[in-house]
Point group: C2
Chain length 209, copies 2
Amino acid sequence: MHYFNTTDVDGFSKLYRLNMINSITGFKSANLIASKSNNGDENLAIFSSVTHLGSNPALLHFTLRPNTVPRDTYKNIKETQVFTVNHVSAPHFEDAHHTSAKYDEAVSEFDQTRLVPEYKNNWYAPYVKDSPISLGCRYLNEYEIKENGCLLIVAAIEQIFIQEDLLMEDGWVDLTKGSVMAINGLDGYTLPQLEKRLEYARPKQINNK
Amino acid sequence: MHYFNTTDVDGFSKLYRLNMINSITGFKSANLIASKSNNGDENLAIFSSVTHLGSNPALLHFTLRPNTVPRDTYKNIKETQVFTVNHVSAPHFEDAHHTSAKYDEAVSEFDQTRLVPEYKNNWYAPYVKDSPISLGCRYLNEYEIKENGCLLIVAAIEQIFIQEDLLMEDGWVDLTKGSVMAINGLDGYTLPQLEKRLEYARPKQINNK
């Protein structure tokens, strides 16, 4: 096994450290967050930090780093309170990744990629057309993470769109059927395959060592 | 597309809602958090909310729901300040899932599975033997998420173990080479395959629509 301690990590080059530390917490979700300013400027940015927070009520969270590209996303969300979360699937991952390029605020990432905005159910923020799962979300709160200045955004999931064949009888959504991707580090795009759904785990009496 | 709004979700049965809402934020990391109480009781629990928070300093976060199994984890972390995060790989996912069963505090999940504790580098909390990536973490802070009573735990990554063949020249860690798994919903275990690593995204001038 390779072993590194805090002193080793401090001595890494910036890129080496970014690559390693972004990889070692495991696979991350691949989502496009779409928003629109009060002026009507659309914004689209890829995020790998969108995470389930609770089911009742349905909540998610994601983090924003200080001074990075998706600050347009933050500004739009603060202005309008709403945004959409759209899963990245195999046909779209290169375009999705391109939304991380640093464009001026007035430039819509929709115009710089083959991704297409779609307005549904009177939601102010655009959805991403052909995404297998899309969520209409409303900003609820933010928490400043004092340890590094990141903002944790907490949002309610108010609209849910799921491609027909992904939804199973018991409510479980088979992401692999939608070719939904997962991110490895900063730039590795992976396609998960289902191994197995497991039963609810109950205690056993036998020590099977 | 299936469409559901907040009223629909409120009307779901508890299990249907848990299955759906846990699935629709995308793939989640599969990690075993190991800890040990001051009394020496080991605890092991699977988490799907461990997420990268920052690289400099190296930070991660995860959430704890109120009144659920992993509260032993919380108690141990508060007592001792340290824990380990261990990636779940294909040979171990059924045992890893079993750690979600509700055992008494005095019962070690290591004794109820084939997972083996391993003490390394004088870290008080055990590591999980044969995990392809393991992290020695120190508790830094917690944030109460008022919207549903969850706790967000922020921790520093102080020790990093990476299986030799996973670490690439530029610091990127190839999780797929370690058969690291990703979780879909509450109980779906998936094995991601690498599609492609992409270049750093730079703005382009051409509108390619």
